[in-house]
Subunit: 311 residues, 2 copies
Amino acid sequence: MAITVVGSVAFDTVETPAGRRERMLAGAATYFSLAASYFTKVRVIAVVGEDFSSRQEAVFQARGIDTSGIERAPGKSFFWSGSYLDNLNEAKTLQTDLNVFANFEPKIPAGYQDSEFLFLANIDPVLQKKVRDAMPSVKLVCGDTMNYWINDHRDNLLQVLKGLDVLLINDTEAKLLSGIKNPVKAAQDVLGLGPKALVVKHGEYGATAFFGRSIFHDGAKTPHHPFRAPALPVSEVVDPTGAGDSFAGGFFGYIASQPELTPAVFRRAMFYGGVMGSFTVEKFGTERLQELTRDEIEERFALFRELTHLD
Amino acid sequence: MAITVVGSVAFDTVETPAGRRERMLAGAATYFSLAASYFTKVRVIAVVGEDFSSRQEAVFQARGIDTSGIERAPGKSFFWSGSYLDNLNEAKTLQTDLNVFANFEPKIPAGYQDSEFLFLANIDPVLQKKVRDAMPSVKLVCGDTMNYWINDHRDNLLQVLKGLDVLLINDTEAKLLSGIKNPVKAAQDVLGLGPKALVVKHGEYGATAFFGRSIFHDGAKTPHHPFRAPALPVSEVVDPTGAGDSFAGGFFGYIASQPELTPAVFRRAMFYGGVMGSFTVEKFGTERLQELTRDEIEERFALFRELTHLD
């Protein structure tokens, strides 16, 4: 079943201990779409500038991703530049140019309306809400956000959280959103803001899911205790950019590929999220995500299982 | 089969967001012994002062721990005072009085010599090595250390590492010992210093085992990839002191209770380590470790399994 994703399609310049790359195809919606495309049909809503050429378009096409919702606007695409030279776990932002994103008004192609899944990538919560409201018939909505929106656009963000089935954020964002240091209490507080389930990403340590109201197909009581999925200990992180969005793509893509959302599907989805994130960091930008095979994905899924399972 | 442990038996004064406790029975060897005592016979080598009374002695007796190797010396026991008010994950040391520990010369009772397992808790590596050399017939040696010994007593520590089967340290210590930031490369480097296996503790995120030369009973090839055990997300950490030593006690205690060391036993031992650590932080000092039942331990083991297993 199809996922519609709204978010940034952008160019990134990145420097890491492994090297430097200029103006790579990037953006949350790009990483998400590529990762999810190995599991299900994906449709993108975004805006790009005149610098987005057939070369970038071809990356989406090669993965069968629907780009009819990517609007072309006069000017330049969203641009971000960051450095991981000091800390591979956190980028230092060197430059952010919103460009055409500054006046982005999401338009949803008619052909997207039968999407059953909606992913609201990390953008202005006002835009997230507009897209959510314009797609009333989706059956599962998953969203992301970041410190900037939590700090400076809190009221708008709270409106979005009310309508979410699953919120995906990291440890720092969970603390910031709740004002609570203890991770379990912070999760309970965030679940009180609306999301039925919360997935907290821990970077190199994996991710933990916390459950509030049931999101499961059979209305079964949500398991009261959390679920923790691993990350793969990797000997060389080439470029950490997009790992979180790739996690989201693997996670939500797998869910969308299954006939029902059960606790077992949710657990496997968390594993697939970690798997897709682990591929992304192996090369610069979306390089690794462009060239995967489903066999490689299943192989790594088995590795994740062996990494954490008793027998 | 019996474990001999050498390390500190001490008194701690601790303040945490949950309160303050004065001069509790503590020390690495104490936490280790209590945790391991739920799995196997434990024998302690340590030194205490005149402030160590029958009340403290009774805590060991109640768990069937052999204290004939706890020497009584004139003066006061090792004392540590710390605060977790700013950061529950890392203590701020307020006071350390070595007292009788300053002149500690470990003496090994004859009755300890048939121990098949030896745990070298976090003390001066010179003492660790003395005890190791004095017990040549043990079949598995596991050890701990800390920043202070890594930084200022490196040569002595390197001598100890050469004779270790398993080294248990945390992320920071692994980086410090190897001088390498990447956790996988750091682990490989540390394994090159001698230990056949390395368990790196990640605090609230669990622990990862890395394998070098085989330590397994059947000489089977060591699995080339690591194993990751979870920690339980807990809603209230009352006192984090001793969590790492309790992990070591559960880990090594379980191994000592099994007829053979196989990869499956090693994995379950990592889970039991996490289980014992999760109990310790629920109350102040060793309170929780004194009152456990094996049923409670098995129940939590099942919870850890459910927390991380796909089905």
